[in-house]
Amino acid sequence: MGILSLGTLIAEIINFLVLLVLLRYLAYRPLAQMLEGRRRRISEAIAAADADREAAERMRQEYEAALVEGRREAQAAMERAEKMAQGRAQEILAEARAEAERLVRQAREDIGRERASAIRNMERQVAELSILVAARILGREIDESGHRQLIQDFVREATEVH
C-alpha cells in the first residue's frame, strides 16, 4: 500500500523523465530514422514505377506511331506499284494496238500490191490466151504485136464489168 510521500512522487517523475530521455536516444531516434528511410524507399519505388510506366507508355506510343507509319508507307508503295503497273499495262496495250495496226496496214498494203500484180498478170495471160484463141478460130496467125493493143483494150473493158 502506498503511503503518500513527496520523495516517492518526485522520484517517480524523475524516473519517468529518465526513461523518456533514454528511449528518445536509444529507441525513438533510430526508429524514426528507419521509418524515414522506409518512407523514402517507398516513395522512390513509387516514383520509379511511375517513371517506368511513363517510359513504357511513351515507347508504346512510339511503336504504335511507327506501326501506323509503316502501314501507311506500305499502302502508298502498293498504290504506287499498282498505278505503275496499270500505266505499264496501258503502255503495253497501246504498243500492242499500234503494232497490230501497223501489221494490219502492212498486210493490207501487201494484199493490195499482190492483188494489183495478180490482176496485171491475169490481164496479160487473158490477152495471150485471147490471141491464141482468136488465131485458132481465125485459122491464121494474128500478128501478136499488131493486135496486142486491141486485145488489151478489150480485156480491160471486160474486167471493168465486175
Binding site: 502506498g2 524516473n15 526513461l19 525513438y28
Partner: protein
Amino acid sequence: MIPQHMWTLGFLTFNSKTLITTWATMAVVLVIAVAGTRGMSETSPRGLQNIMEFVVDFVNGFLKDLLDEPRGARLRELLVTLLLFLVVANLIGLLPGWGFIQGVNSPTADPNTAFALAALVFILIHFYGFRFRGFSGHAGSFFRPYVALYPVNALESITNPLTLAMRLFGNIFAGELLIDVFLNLFKVGTVGWLVSIPVQVFWLFFAAFIAVIQAFIFMMLTMNYVGTSMLPPGEH
C-alpha cells in the same frame, strides 16, 4: 500484504518497493525498446521491431486525428513512452516471485506513481497551453464558452489530472489487492485453497486485461488533455 520499507534521504522518504518495481519496469521497457530498434529492416521487420512499430503506429493513429504535425511531434514520444511504461508497470506486479514484496507490487498501485504521472500531465497541459495559445489565449480558455463557466473550468483543470491518477491507481491497486486477498485465503485451510485457486486464475487474467486497458486509457486521456491545450480554445 507487507508494508513498504521506507528509504530516507534528508527529509524525503521513498517507498522502496515502488522504486524497485519502477526500475524493473524501466529496465523491461528499455530492453524491449532497445532490442526492437537494433538492426531494423526497412522492408521486412521482424520480432520486437514489429512491436515497436505497432506501438508507435497505434499512438500515431490517435494522435493524427487530434493534432497536426508540428504539434503532434511534441507529444508522440511522451505518449509512446507512457503507453509502454504503463503496460509494463501495470502488468509487472502480477508476476509472481517478488518474494519479500508479494501482493500489491505494481509501481502504479502506489498512488505516488499515479500522481507523479498526473502531475506531469498537469504541468504539460499548462506548459503547452501557454506556449501554443499564448498567455491570454490559455488563461482566457477558462472563461469559455461563458465567463460564468469559470468555476467549472477551473475545477476541471484540477479534476482531470486528479481523476487520471485516481483511476489508474484505483484500478491497479484494487486488482492487486484482490490477488492479495485471494492469497490470504490459503490460510483458511482446504476450503480456502479450493476457492482461491480458480478465482485467482480468473482474476489474474482479468487483472492483466485491466492493466492493459488502464494503460491505454491513461495514454488516451493524456493525449486528449495535453493535445487539446495545444489547440486554440474552443477548437476541438
